[in-house]
């Protein structure tokens, strides 16, 4: 079995133009390493089965929404404030951390209830659905999103 670890750090100004660029970079970087390791392990019975599909749509969406929240709600689109994304991946899990320089999101008192046809406010709901775990730091300006590799711990089907 091939064990691995990889990490990446990207820091950029709070401009919406960067969201697509950064999410694409991160997704392709994660995919490259995951696929390489997967191909090494595929005929190895000692390896745990890894589901590469977890790096698709839902992961892209979670990164996209976290960056949008950091830029728009955290830094209020102030280009002088920076957003930092880092990820860490090993054979067991993928951890993505997004930090902004805003005053912090009040995650303790946050309630997701809203009008069903509201035009905004679904980002966190989506992240929650596609990741296995999410947590905030105390001040609320940093979100950690965790996805376990191998068989997903969530009940729903991944894609």
């Amino acid at each position: 079995m091939v064990l691995f670890e990889n990490q990446l750090y990207i820091e950029f100004p709070s401009k919406k133009d960067f969201i697509d660029f950064v999410s694409n970079k991160v997704i392709s970087s994660i995919n490259t390493i995951a696929q390489e390791v997967h191909s090494q392990n595929i005929n190895d019975e000692t390896s745990m089965p890894q589901d590469l599909n977890i790096f698709g749509f839902g992961m892209n969406l979670s990164i996209d929404e976290a960056l949008k929240n950091a830029i728009v709600h955290g830094n209020r689109v102030d280009p002088l404030k920076k957003v930092a994304l880092s990820y860490y991946i090993n054979s067991e899990k993928l951890e993505i951390i997004v930090r902004d320089e805003g005053i912090g999101f009040d995650h303790k008192n946050y309630k997701a209830n809203q009008e069903i046809d509201a035009e905004a406010g679904r980002g966190l709901l989506l992240i929650n659905n596609f990741m296995d775990e999410i947590k905030f730091n105390e001040s609320g300006n940093e979100i950690t999103m965790i996805k376990y590799l191998g068989k997903s711990k969530t009940a729903r089907e991944d894609f």
């Binding site: 919406k16 996209d64 949008k68 069903i116 894609f159």
Partner: protein, 113 residues
């Protein structure tokens, strides 16, 4: 992002191809504004080749839906990929939008009225 339209009697079918992301949102806004201002208010969106949409894109669709319904029309969605269908279920938007498995079914819903 490509958006094409065709008329089927009193229904306008709008096909989306590509990804609705921040870079392509303006195109979608521009094209859907034309639809809102147009005379045909019975719209079918074919999402067969729409591979990605985020919460911001969903907000945009809801905005269009509200304006069209205010003008006594409707936006019916059709041909959603499984991951997009999942997204509509997670957000309960499958109860806001009328969603059909294919374009023809969606068009016929207007004809039957």
């Amino acid at each position: 992002m490509e958006i094409t339209t065709k008329d089927c009697n009193d229904v306008k079918v709008v096909s989306f191809k590509g990804r609705i992301v921040y870079d392509t949102e303006e195109i979608v806004k521009r094209e859907t504004e034309k639809l809102v201002k147009g005379t045909v208010k019975n719209l079918v969106f074919n999402f067969g080749e729409l591979t990605y949409i985020n919460s911001s894109g969903l907000g945009l669709l809801i905005n269009v839906l509200k304006q069209i319904r205010a003008a006594k029309g409707d936006v019916k969605l059709s041909n959603l990929r499984p991951e997009l269908m999942e997204l509509f279920k997670i957000t309960s938007l499958n109860s806001v939008f009328d969603i059909s498995p294919d374009e023809e079914t969606a068009v016929n819903k207007f004809v039957k009225k």
